[in-house]
Amino acid sequence: MRRILNVLLISSIAMMLAVPAMAADTIKIGFNIPMTGDIPKVGESSKRSAEMLKADINGAGGLEVGGKKYMLEFVYEDNEAKAESAVTTALKLIERDEILAMIGPNSSKQAVPAGQIADDNGVVMVSPWSTNPDTTLDRPWVFRAAFLDPFQGPVAVNFAVETFNAKTAGVLYDLSNDYSKGLAEIFKDVFETKMGANTVLAFESHGTKDQDFSAQLTKIIATKPDFIFVPDNYNQVALIVQQARQLGYKGEFMGSDAWGSSELMTLCGDVCKGLHFSTHYAAAGATGATKVFIDRYTAKYGETPDDVAALTWDATRVVLLAVQNAGKLTGKLKKDRKAVRKGMQAIASFSGITGNMKFDDQGDPVKCAVVVQISQTGEFEFKKSVCP
């Protein structure tokens, strides 16, 4: 009996010792995404997209780096869509899970503070969805897959001026959200430079947890703007548009890429139909690799991938490409992380499903934006493409 126990003990110790040796053949990528909190759909889309990519690569025997096949291991951690949780999640991934590189956080509110952690610890971070310039600014370790707000702002301005014939605008934004506030300010600057001083008639803010916007909207509507710019998350958009209509506003709205969630239409319903927003890609009417991705995702999960899903796909592929560019993995975390960063910089141009991109000095991609209109069937239809 004792003998059997001894054998068991020895073999289990041997197993434990063997695990690290096996772990050397896997590549660990961490995902810092919001699976609960204000924007859980964003986290879910990211995870679904990443799982699909992982299944593809591991199904084909793994990722080849320097002549050796590595299996992928994705670690998903919830940042609760909070800035402070994104920081602790980043630290957890970097220190406890010993990831090679990090994908996310998605929204700028979390990506700006988490980017600092990634940069300080020397880990490559690629945010799929963050559009605020501060995320990557002066942070050599931080990259992104989305375009920037200073580009998105003018896209919204030009589109509204041309399509709505707008001469004046009203703005409603989320004060406690870096993304929303940054974009609103850029929008105001660009619009007033183009249309003249004080053409943004109302510039109002609200808090993240707010559900009643009647006071702000009453104030905006009283100034009779040609359209209202709402750079807000999809959950707030649903309430804002509805309340504006109930206050008798019949004019146009213009949105930003945070509208582009597949949950927008379930929450907003009919009142959002016909509205426009700028975003990263349009699922309706896509071609080529983008269409293949959309079809596979739809078949697998029963819904059209939103732009977070598409951008996560691109961001993860960029990171994997960088790993391959690194040439060889030594198993020494610090050295490998450095090699991945060199690999990122070595990417000359990347053809993703959200368009072609190349990274500039700040780690930001140069890529096009599209403006979509929400159709009567609730699809996001391509309206116009704008390139830098």
């Binding site: 204000d38 986290g43 879910e44 109002e204 947890k209 009643d212 009283a222 959950n235 206050l247 319903g269």
Partner: protein
């Protein structure tokens, strides 16, 4: 300018109605038990979710017309939410009370109950939001540049009716008399043959039932539900109850409308960036001037 002021008064009345309805629940429980039931905001959230499931069931499974569904939904939501409130009292507050625990521990228990409700909801239903189905057709009326909807008017009238009803219960009925008596001295009153536990259950039924009604109306007015929706509005309603003078029905009602009015009017006349800063500074000044709230009576602790 005038129409925008009237418009904002209507906005404030609607928004204040929700604060008032929730603050009434805080104040009822506090009045009887001197317990700050911090789970109340989350009971309101549970009420909104119950309303969501009940109305979805009536609309899709039974295919009833919206107004029938609403008529059935109101009592059912109130009863079910009241049961949630009573259950909380039964499993969380009563055992502590029986053991003679200090009030502080009961308050902390209430806070935890609120978190449990939030996270149980999160675990069971997932983090994605629910869209509340439209039960009645919302008509937008426009009179001289002032717009309002039938729903807004209904919310405001309901809040006033609930206040009148609760005020009547507390001041005119025997149950109300017992509540006030317990509030006055909860050691002597049971000796007079008043069943303490039953009166407390009635208090929780009333408070939670109307939180359920508030949840239903809130979900109809702001049809996006998430597990944390009750937290912030619950906190603010608590502040409203304190400003009004916690423990007094009139105080909770007026406090709710006052907070709604302050929040809306600050946005109307100042940059909206300063809303919470100015709104809560105003409330702080009211409390400095009258620390027991508008209707509160100073009580000395008996040793």
């Amino acid at each position: 300018m005038l129409e925008s002021i009237i418009q904002n008064i209507i906005n404030a009345l609607q928004w204040g109605s929700f604060y008032a309805l929730i603050a009434l629940g805080y104040t009822l429980v506090y009045g009887v038990l001197t317990l700050i039931n911090f789970a109340h905001g989350d009971v309101f959230m549970v009420g909104a979710y119950i309303a969501f499931f009940v109305s979805t069931f009536f609309l899709s499974a039974l295919a009833l017309p919206g107004w029938v569904a609403l008529a059935l939904c109101i009592p059912l939501t109130m009863i079910l939410t009241a049961m949630v409130g009573v259950t909380l009292e039964r499993i969380a507050y009563r055992p502590l009370r029986k053991k003679g625990a200090h009030r502080l521990y009961v308050v902390i228990t209430a806070l935890m109950c609120g978190l449990i409700l939030e996270h149980a909801n999160l675990a069971i239903l997932g983090a994605s939001r629910k869209a509340f189905p439209p039960l009645i057709e919302v008509h937008v009326y426009n009179i001289g540049g002032v717009t309002f909807t039938n729903l807004k008017v209904a919310v405001i009238i309901t809040a006033i009716l609930v206040f009148l009803f609760l005020h009547w219960v507390v001041t005119k009925t025997r149950v109300g008399m017992a509540m006030r008596a317990i509030s006055y001295d909860k050691f002597a009153v049971p000796l007079m043959g008043i069943p303490l536990d039953q009166i407390i259950v009635v208090t929780f039924v009333l408070g939670s039932g109307f939180a359920g009604l508030a949840g239903l109306l809130f979900a109809m007015s702001y049809p996006v539900l998430d597990p944390y929706m009750g937290a912030l509005i619950g906190w603010k309603a608590f502040i409203a109850a304190v400003v009004g003078g916690i423990g007094d029905i009139r105080g909770a009602f007026l406090g709710g409308f006052l907070l709604g009015a302050v929040e809306i009017m600050v946005v109307a006349f100042f940059p909206s960036t300063f809303r919470d800063l100015i709104a809560f500074s105003v409330l702080l000044m009211i409390l400095t001037w009258k620390p027991t709230g508008l209707f509160g009576i100073a009580k000395t602790t008996k040793i």
